[in-house]
Each structure stands twice: as structure tokens, then as C-alpha cells.
């Protein structure tokens, strides 16, 4: 048995123990016993003979302990300046200590079992109960040093870590700087996985940073003693006492929050709300994501994002996000740095991310860090988990539509870990309920993830991310649709020194779809579309000084876009093979940003990103004279370019500026200005983003999109930071958004520029958010008023949409309110309620009818002049956990709930069709009833 040797116990801990817990008392008794055993009677009278010359406290303690049965409890840091110079001969302890602490503010107390407590200022009464009240509020954090911590219970360990004084850096006089830099990783103590977004801060002075996606942090503080507070969502708050003498490293392990009920008074997220410089950023961890009820009960991160202010979608069948008036293709969706072009399964009902692999999600909708670019509206940064570095574990889940399996563990303990996960559907049973003629229908999807993280040494880490997803559906065995993402990325993180580290990423992303039909042998065809991109990114993070932390880097992405191949299937097929020429382009950017802390209250983050886009051959490009509509008749010349030949270059700076002024600890104002350029666009003539939409690269005839956004936000935290509130306003303009002409054909179009129109847009809005992240009752309430309007900007398009005036975009939903509430009844049972209201989206309704081809038919005029009825939905779910025994092999949980509790027929669209000669108007609801769901999860 390992014996535990306590030197000192914090008075706080002691008083807490005495006050609350019989069990803790037992512990103290046990400890007492152990020490007693070890220090068995050495000197019957406990008389002491010592001589000290400049002796530190340790020497004094060791000497006395060696001669007597006394055992000392003390905080070594309190005594670090104290040196002893005296000698005594055969004196009792009290005399010795009186001598030692004469003329100092130190006190001592001797307990009934030969414990000696050394304190500063406060006098410990060994008759504890009588003096508890006098001790209250006076205590300091005391030092407990553990020499052998192999088999201790975690609770003791945390207390120990929190109370230990860490000496950081070498105290060398020749370094005159008043500041020193602490760097290190924040990790999960149980799994060894890095924790992103943890906030590390000191209260006095108020300095704070957040760990990056690798868990890495760097904080610059004045030399001396500090208490570092570390907080992260879903983890227990902790702190570290440090004595900072020079630059140094400190890794911090955080404990998971097993019991969410009592812990966490302040969470990191709330403070970052006030202190972060970046505005309009929403971060969520997987625990939050899993609480929100969604249809079919599968945790779905895109659906949860839709509950946030400023994030909308055209309807329930679509996971295409419209962020602050942007279209769905203006979001950069990154999964561990890999671009995901189609983030949904099953036409858009599910998001394509396995909740077991996702660690956290960050959505930047206003100020976008300079390292990101290429999309106008937002960046959705999804961080995947790394896998448990210490032991093997797994998860399995069974739901109505999907089931999933996840397994993770160390390859080399504490160094290399993997996580592998897969999901698949068995939605075919749903299709089995269809009428006979659809019995041959099939729909299936899957996704697979593999992440490997490897620590080469303390300065080098490697991360491998592999992801693939596939969807296939076939209705009535007529036409088969399939699409999939494939992504592979390799990341190398290298620390050059304490102040500079770099991340080097290379990877390959692919998205493709195909449509095929073999029902008619003569027309049997396969149509395919694909995007391939390979990229290199180098990102550097440089902590120049406490006032400046820099980020710079460059990245380059090579696109190969296959706009469409159409080919016959089978010998009988007369389909003529046709290929729209491949497109190539190189998008490169360099960026530099500086986070300038002018005062702890006033921080400016300024960044510039210069992007260069080259459209490359081989390609044939139609030439049109200026000032005429781009139509096939107006092509004056076709220029042909050879492979790799430069066809067109677009370039320009993008500015990213944000600033924060913190008026008080819980109130700040932030402002930002952002510009963005986008070189790849979705062409779609459907309202919802559809799996058959195509992407198009900018070329000489299609100029890049350009947008800018101004925003201003007010952030106020209430009730000891447990409630956070914010108001953000924004105004945004967008140029060269692609719209299409009436009746445009987008697939297999060799002259696509003739069918699209340049559109300008403007969007503005105000977003209110009240959030309570902790406590039995937690959740958020948001309200947004926003508008987005488009206007045809192309006078030569040949067709003037809505007379050239502004008209509302498809996703213009002025009023929107959301409530997400979770109530934790006890440790094993929680309830969630989710309510959403939005104004109905605009729709083009017929304004008249005419008789043609023996049927009444509808006549349309202005685009989006009407709205579908408003949308309102409430969902409810219950999470039932099995027991929380830590060492149990299997932990299971149930999620049971109802989507659309009131069974409201929320309109997805309204349309008129000619049927049997008559004209009928319909309102289509995706989910026309309450949908119950149940999910079973096992963690092993």
C-alpha cells in the first residue's frame, strides 16, 4: 500500500471537511493514523535540538519531524522568504517555534495528535469547532504537496493541484522584462484529449486567453504570484497557483463534469462573451448539442445552430444555413480544416456529422478571423474529437432511423490515440410503408470518421482526419441519386519556441454526386458532378508581447471542378456522352492579424487578408462585347487556353477589424468591420439547397462575390455571470451574388454565364440573446429582427427581375424567436423543451390564371411578393441516464421525445398546380404531425 504523506492541508479544506462530511473526517483520521505509524515514537519527550544557519522552512520541518512524532502542515510558498538562524538544545516544540517565528506574522498550532499547523496571520485553534467562524473568509489557499500520488482519489488530487504552487521559469536576474509567458496545453484529465476554447485568466490584473483548437494557450503575466483560473464548458472549473519567474510551460488537466448539478458557478463561455474580441461567434460543445431535441432524436448540430439568433433556413427539409442574410453557399463549413460541401444526409433532413465524433462547433457570423476566407457569410468550424489517449472506450446508439458505433483509444498510451466512428441508416423501412408502386424505393446513407492524433514530442504533434459520407436514394427504381463527401487532412503542429508555433496542414477534399436512370434503355444515362480541392495551409501564432499577439500565414487551394459529365449506360442507350469542360483554379491568400491589448479593457484585433484567385486552363472561354446581354447570340469569339495557362486573375484585400471595450467586469461593447471575397458559388434555381445544385468557379464572365459587414454588440452578464445577455446589430452588403434567369438550365450547361444574373444584396438586423448556461434550468432565448433584400444589378441581363427594384430573398424571415430550455430534474433525468417561431418566408405566388393546353394554368409576376404562413414549432424530449457509477463497464441512456408536439402543419411551401384541367392551391408541410422518437445510447 502506498502511503500518502500530507504535509499540510488547507485550512479551507479542513473546515469544509469538518463542516460537511463524516466521510472526509474519516479520511483525516485515516491520514492521521498513517502518519502516526510512519513516525512511531522516536523521542519520548519530543524534545528538540537544532542549529540553523539561513535554513529554509523545509529544513526546519524535516529536522523537527526526524527528531519527534510531530507532523507539519503548512504552505511552503508562504515561507519562501523566511530563513531561520537560531539554535536550541533539548527544548519542547513550542519553544522552538516561538523562537523561529518571533517577530514574524506566522503562527502555529499544535493538534492533539501531534499535528502542527503553520499559518500566516490566522491562528489555528486545534479545537476547530469553536473557531470555524473566525476562520471563515480569512483563509488563504494553502499548499499541499504530494510526493506519491499514484493511487489517490481524484478529488484529493484536484484539491492538491489547485493548492500546489507551481514555480514557472527560472528566476534569472539578467532578464529585465517585467513579464513572462506561460504556454501549455489544456487537456481532459481522463482521456488526454486536448480541450479547445478553455479560458485561462487571472482576476487581478484581468488578463485572459482562450486555448486554441489544439488546446494550446499562451498567457503573458507580470512576474510574481498569480492564480490562474481555468474554465471550459462541460469541465470542472479549476485554478493553478503559480509563481512566475520567467517564461515557462504548464499543462493543465481538467476533470470532466460528472455531476452537473452543483458544480460550476462561472463558466468559461460566459466570460468569453464579455471578454472575447471576436464578435458574433457562437460556440457549442457536444453536450449542449445533445440536449436540444431534434426530429428522430439524433443529435444534429446543424439543427441546433438554427436555434441561434441570425441563423435561419428555408424550411425543415433543408439544413442549408442562411447566416445573417447570406445564402446557403456562403458558409464555409470546416470539419477539422476540411471543407464539407454538402453537410447533410437524406436530402437535407440530417446533418452529416456524427455527434460522437464532434467535440465542439464554432460559428463565426460577424468578425471572421483572418485565417479563414473564401466565403461571404460565415465560418462554421467543427472540431472533431481526438480519441481517448489513456484507455479504450466506445459509444453505440440506436435510433429510429440511424444507428451508430464509435470506438476510440490509445495506440501508444498518452501519445497516440485514434477515434473511429460510423453511422448508417435503415430508413428503408420507412419507404416500405409506401404504396406498392414505390416498394422498390431505397434510401440509404452512411458516414465514417477516423481521427488519429499523435504527439511526436512536446513540440510536435500530428493530426490525421479522414471523413467520408455517402448518400444514395432511389425512388420507384427509376432514377438513382447519390452524393458523397470525402476528406483527408494531415496537420502538423510545431512549437518553434514558447512564443511561436506553427500549424501546417495539407489535405484533399472531394464532393461529388451522380444521377442515373436505367428505366428506359434508350435514354439510360448517368450524370455526374464533382469538386476536388487540394490545399496547403501554414498558420503561425506568435505571442510577441503581452500587448500583441500575432497570427499570420498563407494558404493555397487548387480546385478542379467537374461541372458535369453525361454518359450512356448500356449498349442500347443512345445517350450522347457530353462533358462540360473541367475548370481549374488556384486560390491563395496571405494574412496577418494582430490582437493588440491596449489596456486590459480595450482590445483591438486587426487583420488583413490578401487573396489572389487564378482561373487556369485548359479552358475555352466565350468572349462577349461589353454592354450587351451575355447570350449565345452575342458570343464574338471563343478563346482557348492551354493547360495551366492563366486565364483570369482576381485579387484584393479583405479587412477584418474588431474591437472590444470592457466597461466593467460584466459589461462590454464590441464593434467589427469585415470584408470577404468568394470565388466559388452555388448555382441553384430551387429554394432549398438541393443535392443536385452545382458549384461554379469564378471565371472571366462570372466575377467573384464581395461582401462587407458592420456590426456592433453590447454584452452584459448578470447574476454573477450566470446569465448572459447580448444585443448585436449588423448591416451588410453583398455584391455579385449569382441569380439565374427565368427558366435557366443549370445542369450540363456549356455557357452557364448566359443563364445567370448578377445580383446585389443588402441585409440588416438586430439580434437579442439571453442565455443561462448553468444550473438546473439552463438554455437560451433569442429574438431576431432581420431583413435581406436582393436587387438585380446587371442592366444587360436581358431580363429585369422585379423591375430592377429590391425584393426580399427567399430566406428573408423578419421575425424569429427561439427558446431552448433544459431542466435537470436529477442526475439521471432531464427534460428539454424547444420552441421556434419565424415569419413565413417569401414566396412567388401566381397572380392570375389562364387557360392553355386544356387546363387552367397559373400566371406569375413579381418574385417573392408574398409569404407563406408563419412557422411555429415546439419539441420536447427527455434524457434518461443509467446510473453514474464511474467504474461501471456500460453506461446507457435513453432519449425519448416528441418533435412538433402540437402537430402543427407548418408550411414548407405553398404552390399552385394544374390538375386535370383545374387549378389547385396547396400548402406542403414536411412534418404534418407530432413525431415521437426514441434513441438508445450505450457508452462502453
Amino acid at each position: 500500500m502506498h502511503c500518502l504523506r500530507w504535509r499540510l492541508i488547507s485550512t479551507k479544506l479542513l473546515t469544509e471537511m469538518m463542516r460537511y462530511s463524516g466521510r472526509c473526517l474519516l479520511l483525516v483520521v485515516l491520514l492521521g493514523c498513517l502518519s502516526t505509524k510512519l513516525h512511531a515514537q522516536k523521542n519520548a519527550q519530543n524534545l528538540i535540538t537544532v542549529t540553523f544557519h539561513d535554513a529554509p522552512i523545509q529544513e526546519l520541518v524535516e529536522e523537527i519531524e526526524s527528531q519527534t512524532d510531530y507532523f507539519f502542515y503548512y504552505d511552503i510558498s508562504l515561507f519562501d522568504s523566511l530563513k531561520f538562524n537560531f539554535s536550541v538544545s533539548r527544548e519542547p516544540l513550542s519553544t522552538v517555534l516561538d523562537r523561529a517565528f518571533a517577530n514574524t506574522s506566522f503562527n502555529y498550532a499544535i493538534g492533539p495528535h501531534d499535528e502542527v499547523f503553520l499559518t500566516k496571520e490566522a491562528l489555528i485553534q486545534t479545537n476547530l469547532s469553536a473557531t470555524l467562524d473566525s476562520l471563515k473568509g480569512k483563509h488563504r489557499a494553502y499548499h499541499v504537496e504530494i510526493e506519491d500520488d499514484q493511487n489517490q482519489n481524484t478529488k484529493t488530487q484536484i484539491a492538491a493541484l489547485e493548492n500546489k504552487l507551481y514555480q514557472i521559469g527560472v528566476n534569472s536576474a539578467n532578464n529585465g522584462s517585467p513579464n513572462a509567458l506561460i504556454t501549455g496545453y489544456v487537456r481532459d484529465a481522463k482521456t488526454g484529449e486536448s480541450i479547445a476554447g478553455a479560458s485561462i485568466y487571472t482576476d487581478k490584473p484581468r488578463v485572459g486567453v482562450a486555448s486554441d483548437q489544439y488546446g494550446y494557450y499562451a498567457i503573458s503575466l507580470t512576474k510574481g504570484r498569480h492564480i490562474l483560473n481555468i474554465q471550459s464548458i462541460g469541465m470542472k472549473d479549476t485554478r493553478r497557483q503559480i509563481l512566475l519567474s520567467g517564461d515557462g510551460k504548464m499543462n493543465i488537466d481538467l476533470q470532466g463534469q460528472v455531476m452537473m448539478l452543483k458544480n460550476v458557478i462561472v463558466s468559461a463561455e460566459k466570460l468569453s462573451n464579455i471578454r472575447g474580441v471576436t464578435m458574433g461567434v457562437q460556440k457549442m460543445d457536444i453536450k449542449t448539442l445533445k440536449q436540444v431535441p431534434v426530429v428522430f432524436g439524433e443529435a444534429d448540430l446543424l439543427r441546433v445552430l438554427l436555434t441561434l439568433p441570425g441563423v435561419k433556413s428555408v424550411g425543415e427539409a433543408s439544413t442549408g444555413l442562411n447566416v445573417r442574410g447570406g445564402s446557403a453557399d456562403q458558409n464555409l463549413i470546416l470539419f477539422n480544416d476540411a471543407t464539407i460541401y454538402n453537410p447533410s444526409h437524406f436530402f437535407g433532413f440530417f446533418s452529416a456529422f456524427n455527434p460522437d465524433v464532434v467535440k465542439s462547433v464554432e460559428l463565426y457570423k460577424s468578425s471572421i478571423p483572418a485565417r479563414y476566407g473564401g466565403r461571404l457569410s460565415s465560418v462554421l468550424d467543427i472540431t472533431a474529437r481526438e480519441g481517448n489517449k489513456k484507455e479504450f472506450e466506445g459509444n453505440a446508439g440506436i435510433g429510429l432511423v440511424t444507428s451508430r458505433l464509435e470506438f476510440e483509444g490509445p495506440i501508444v498510451k498518452d501519445k497516440t490515440s485514434f477515434i473511429i466512428a460510423g453511422r448508417t441508416t435503415y430508413a428503408n423501412w420507412l419507404l416500405g410503408l409506401l404504396p406498392d408502386q414505390y416498394k422498390n424505393s431505397k434510401a440509404s446513407f452512411y458516414d465514417l470518421n477516423l481521427n488519429v492524433s499523435h504527439q511526436i514530442d512536446k513540440n510536435n504533434n500530428l493530426y490525421l482526419t479522414a471523413y467520408t459520407s455517402g448518400d444514395k436514394f432511389n425512388l420507384n427504381s427509376d432514377t438513382t441519386y447519390g452524393y458523397g463527401n470525402t476528406n483527408l487532412s494531415l496537420k502538423w503542429k510545431h512549437s518553434f519556441n514558447d512564443k511561436l508555433y506553427g500549424v501546417f496542414i495539407t489535405g484533399y477534399d472531394k464532393y461529388n454526386y451522380d444521377i442515373s436512370s436505367t428505366a428506359n434503355p434508350v435514354n439510360a444515362f448517368k450524370l455526374s458532378f464533382g469538386i476536388n480541392q487540394s490545399y496547403l495551409k501554414a498558420q503561425f501564432y506568435y505571442f510577441l508581447s503581452p500587448k500583441h499577439s500575432l497570427e499570420f500565414g498563407l494558404n493555397s487551394m487548387y480546385y478542379v471542378l467537374q461541372p458535369g459529365t453525361y454518359e450512356p449506360i448500356g449498349k442500347e442507350s443512345l445517350v450522347q456522352a457530353d462533358t462540360v469542360a473541367k475548370e481549374q483554379a488556384l486560390e491563395s491568400a496571405v494574412y496577418l492579424s494582430d490582437k493588440f491589448t491596449i489596456t486590459p479593457q480595450f482590445v483591438i484585433e486587426g487583420g488583413i487578408r490578401f487573396s489572389v484567385y487564378n482561373y487556369l486552363g485548359p479552358q475555352s472561354v466565350n468572349q462577349y462585347p461589353p454592354d450587351v446581354p451575355k447570350s449565345p447570340d452575342n458570343v464574338v469569339d471563343v478563346k482557348t487556353y492551354g493547360p495551366g495557362q492563366l486565364i483570369k486573375t482576381y485579387s484584393g484585400p479583405e479587412y477584418r477589424l474588431s474591437l472590444r471595450y470592457e466597461f466593467t467586469d460584466n459589461f462590454s461593447i464590441k464593434a467589427s468591420y469585415n470584408t470577404e471575397r468568394q470565388y466559388i458559388h452555388v448555382l441553384s434555381n430551387t429554394t432549398a439547397i438541393s443535392p443536385t445544385d452545382i458549384w461554379k468557379l469564378s471565371d472571366p464572365n462570372i466575377v467573384p462575390e464581395w461582401g462587407n459587414q458592420y456590426s456592433l454588440g453590447f454584452y452584459k452578464n448578470l447574476k454573477n455571470n450566470t446569465i448572459e445577455t447580448s444585443v448585436e446589430v449588423y448591416y451588410k452588403t453583398m455584391e455579385h451574388i449569382l441569380d439565374y434567369k427565368s427558366g435557366a438550365v443549370l445542369l450540363m450547361n456549356h455557357n452557364i454565364e448566359t443563364d445567370v444574373i448578377n445580383t446585389n444584396g443588402r441585409a440588416y438586423g438586430i439580434e437579442f440573446l439571453i442565455k443561462k448556461a448553468t444550473g438546473k434550468l439552463n438554455g437560451w432565448l433569442s429574438y431576431t429582427y432581420s431583413r435581406v433584400e436582393l436587387k438585380q444589378a446587371d442592366p444587360y441581363a436581358g431580363e429585369i427581375i422585379n423591375g430592377g427594384n429590391y425584393y426580399p430573398a427567399n430566406y428573408d424571415q423578419p421575425n424569429s424567436a427561439t427558446m431552448v430550455a433544459n431542466y435537470r430534474v436529477n442526475h439521471r433525468f432531464s427534460l428539454s423543451l424547444n420552441s421556434t417561431y419565424t415569419t413565413g418566408r417569401p414566396i412567388t405566388l401566381p397572380t392570375g390564371s389562364y387557360f392553355y393546353y386544356n387546363s387552367f394554368r397559373t400566371l406569375y409576376s413579381d418574385r417573392n411578393a408574398y409569404r407563406i404562413p408563419d412557422y411555429y414549432r415546439t419539441d420536447f424530449s427527455m434524457n434518461i441516464d443509467g446510473n453514474h457509477k464511474v467504474h461501471q463497464k456500460f453506461h446507457n441512456s435513453w432519449t425519448i421525445g416528441v418533435y412538433n408536439v402540437f402537430g402543427r402543419h407548418n408550411p414548407y411551401s405553398v404552390y399552385y398546380v394544374s390538375q386535370n384541367g383545374a387549378l389547385n392551391g396547396y400548402q406542403l408541410s414536411i412534418f404534418g404531425s407530432a413525431i415521437p422518437f426514441i434513441n438508445f445510447n450505450v457508452r462502453f
Partner: protein, 377 residues
């Protein structure tokens, strides 16, 4: 792309459609609508009307207009108004090398011209074929034209079917008693016709040659219609369009027939190639092109269809029995509410008469005619 199927799938997921009536201000009424094509060999029919509001669609024929076909060689052929808003000329035989357009002068003095169009020649229909599935019969058209590629086709059709009332009647009540029904007064077998109300178009743009193989032109369901109870016939008419004409028809189809899926194309404005000569901004709905027309007829007899239950429309019909005494007969048949169907015999003696309501006995009440069409076989 069969987007419609996706909707079906949604129903299973709990989706539903409800009737919707929009409250629309400022309805677009009164636009001139011109339908038809210039058929250079045979009958050209141009149908003109005005658009109406959405809430109460009515057909408003445009009468009294002067309509003529104009040719690039200077010829002009006036059409005469056959019925209200229907302008026609038969027996045309025009030069296929010329271009043609339509000139319209409405009674309000406005003058309209369609764009000049080339003559498109419709090849013969190679065959009409059909297959029976569990829900109904699909009729396919097959054609080809080696002379032109690509080909843009549009088909319309006329269906005619024979059907019989639920109860045959060989007797009738003459006011005093039952007499044998004369052959000229038989009301059991009828023929009814209908025209296509949907747009059927296809192109061979994506194919290596101008071949249309088994394009599904019509679906005849077993339910909701009695077309397949006895004998069914379909006359498919084929016309060939120019590319811009085809694209216009496709747009009309997309705007008016192909909506209601989750990935709907956004509806767009419907204009055409007809313009007011004085005011080109006036919206005129319609596209006038020039084509020849070919046609083919197909018969399907019930005996050719796999045994299945076909809707007859007479599912609720029942018969009564009445005594043969004059009082009973008068009470039953005197007011014309019931029609006698057959005499009931017992041991060789007439004991009563069976009868049913006219809707179950007189086939004409379902919209048909007793006259067998000339083409019937």
C-alpha cells in the same frame, strides 16, 4: 427528374398537404392568351382568351378578332372564327420552305404579331405501346427522325373509351305498362372522349440521334376512372417544336405542373413570342410556332389487361324489385325516378320487374354518347 416521388416519400415521413387559398391583391387579369400552332398541312386552330383572376378561374374567349397567318413570301391566310374564340382553317397546304407568323387584330383595336418561325416537320409516330402495372396502364410513344437532330417533341392526345351502365335495360315503361325497348333506344353502351390536360414534351438533345423510345405519354389509372372497363382508345398527336418554343413550353410546365416538391424550381414569368406591335411591354401569353402534325391510334381491350379490379363508377348501384300490377308499376316508374331493367321470372312465369335509378342504367348520364365513333373497332 422525378421530384414528385420525393414528395411521396415525404408523406411517409409525416408530411402532408393542405388546401391553400391565397389572399392576393391586384390580380393579373385581362392579358391576351393565344394558344395553338400553324399547321401547314391540315387544320390550323388558334384559340384566344383572356387571363382571369386566380380565385375564380374562368374561360373568357376573345371573340371577334381578325386572325391571319402571314408568310415570308407575302401570302396571308385569314382564319375564321368557328366557335367563340376559336379561329381555324382547314385543308391548308403551305410551302414548308417559308417562315410563318400570326397576325392578330383584336376588337379593341390592338395589333399583335408573333415572331417568324421556321416550319418543323413531324416524323410519323413509329409505334404506340403500353404496359400494365399495378396502378394502371401507361401508354408510350416511339418515334425517330434521322433528318434532324436534336428533335423537340410535344404530344397531346384524345382518349375515347367504351363503357356500359351497371344494369342493362331491354324494357321501358310507356306510361301504362312495360314494353320492349327498341334498338334505337338502347341506353347501355356509351362512348366518351377526353383530351389531354397535361404537357407532354421530350427532346433528344442529350442523345446521339433523334430517337424517342417509349416516352410515357399517358397514364390510365384503374382507379378514379372507368376508361379501362371495356375498351379504350387513344389518339396521340405529335408536333415538333423549335428549341425556343420547346423551352417556353417547358417553362409553362415547370411553373404550372411540376411544383410541390421540396426542391421546387422557383416559378418565373410566362410570356411568349407574341407582341403588341405598338407596345412591346404588354404581356401576351402564348407561343405560336409552325409544325406539321402526325398521329397514331391505339386500342386496348379489357381482356388484354391482367385481371384486376377496375373502377366503374357504378360501385354504389343496387336494384329493386317491383310487382307487375299496374298500380305498382305506375308508383315505381310513373315519375321517371326509376328505370325498369328486366322482368323477373319464377318457374317460367313473370313475377316482377327489377329496376334501378337512371344513373345506374342510362350510360349517357356519365357524360358519354350512344353514338359509336367512326374509328371504333
Amino acid at each position: 427528374m422525378k421530384m414528385k416521388h420525393w414528395v411521396i416519400m415525404l408523406f411517409v415521413l409525416g408530411a402532408c398537404t393542405d388546401k391553400y387559398v391565397a389572399n392576393i391583391k391586384g390580380q393579373a387579369t385581362g392579358f391576351l392568351v393565344v394558344e395553338g400552332y400553324i399547321n401547314i398541312t391540315g387544320t390550323t386552330t388558334i384559340q384566344m382568351s383572356r387571363s382571369t383572376g386566380l380565385d375564380s378561374p374562368v374561360y373568357l374567349p376573345e371573340t371577334g378578332a381578325q386572325v391571319e397567318i402571314q408568310s415570308t413570301n407575302g401570302a396571308s391566310i385569314p382564319l375564321s372564327e368557328l366557335n367563340a374564340g376559336i379561329y381555324s382553317d382547314t385543308g391548308l397546304n403551305l410551302d414548308p420552305t417559308q417562315q410563318y407568323r400570326l397576325h392578330i387584330k383584336t376588337t379593341n383595336g390592338k395589333d399583335y404579331l408573333s415572331d417568324l418561325s421556321n416550319v418543323n416537320i413531324s416524323p410519323p409516330i413509329d409505334s404506340l405501346s403500353w404496359t400494365a402495372a399495378s396502378d394502371g396502364v401507361t401508354v408510350y410513344v416511339t418515334t425517330h427522325n434521322p433528318a434532324v437532330q436534336p428533335g423537340y417533341y410535344q404530344w397531346s392526345y384524345e382518349e375515347t373509351w367504351e363503357y356500359k351502365s351497371k344494369f342493362g335495360s331491354d324494357i321501358e315503361y310507356d306510361g301504362s305498362g312495360l314494353i320492349l325497348r327498341p334498338d334505337s333506344d338502347m341506353i347501355t353502351t356509351c362512348w366518351r372522349s377526353d383530351v389531354s390536360t397535361t404537357i407532354n414534351i421530350a427532346s433528344t438533345e442529350k442523345l446521339s440521334s433523334n430517337v424517342i423510345y417509349e416516352y410515357p405519354v399517358a397514364l390510365v389509372p384503374y382507379s378514379n376512372t372507368d376508361k379501362l372497363v371495356y375498351e379504350y382508345s387513344i389518339l396521340v398527336k405529335q408536333t415538333v417544336l423549335s428549341q425556343d418554343w420547346y423551352e417556353w413550353v417547358q417553362k409553362v410546365q415547370r411553373n404550372t405542373e411540376a411544383l410541390g416538391s421540396i426542391f421546387d424550381a422557383l416559378p418565373s414569368e410566362t410570356g411568349g413570342n407574341i407582341h403588341n406591335t405598338a407596345d412591346p411591354t404588354e404581356l401576351v401569353i402564348g407561343f405560336i410556332g409552325t409544325t406539321t402534325e402526325t398521329e397514331k391510334r391505339l386500342f386496348i381491350n379489357r381482356t388484354q389487361i391482367p385481371p384486376t379490379i377496375v373502377y366503374t363508377g357504378y360501385e354504389d348501384c343496387t336494384q329493386d324489385t317491383t310487382g307487375l300490377d299496374a298500380a305498382s308499376l305506375n308508383a315505381k316508374f310513373g315519375k321517371g325516378i326509376y328505370i325498369p331493367t328486366a322482368i323477373i321470372y319464377s318457374m317460367g312465369f313473370p313475377v316482377g320487374v327489377s329496376s334501378s335509378i337512371p344513373e345506374c342504367v342510362d350510360c349517357r348520364l356519365k357524360g358519354g354518347t350512344l353514338v359509336q365513333p367512326a374509328f371504333w373497332q
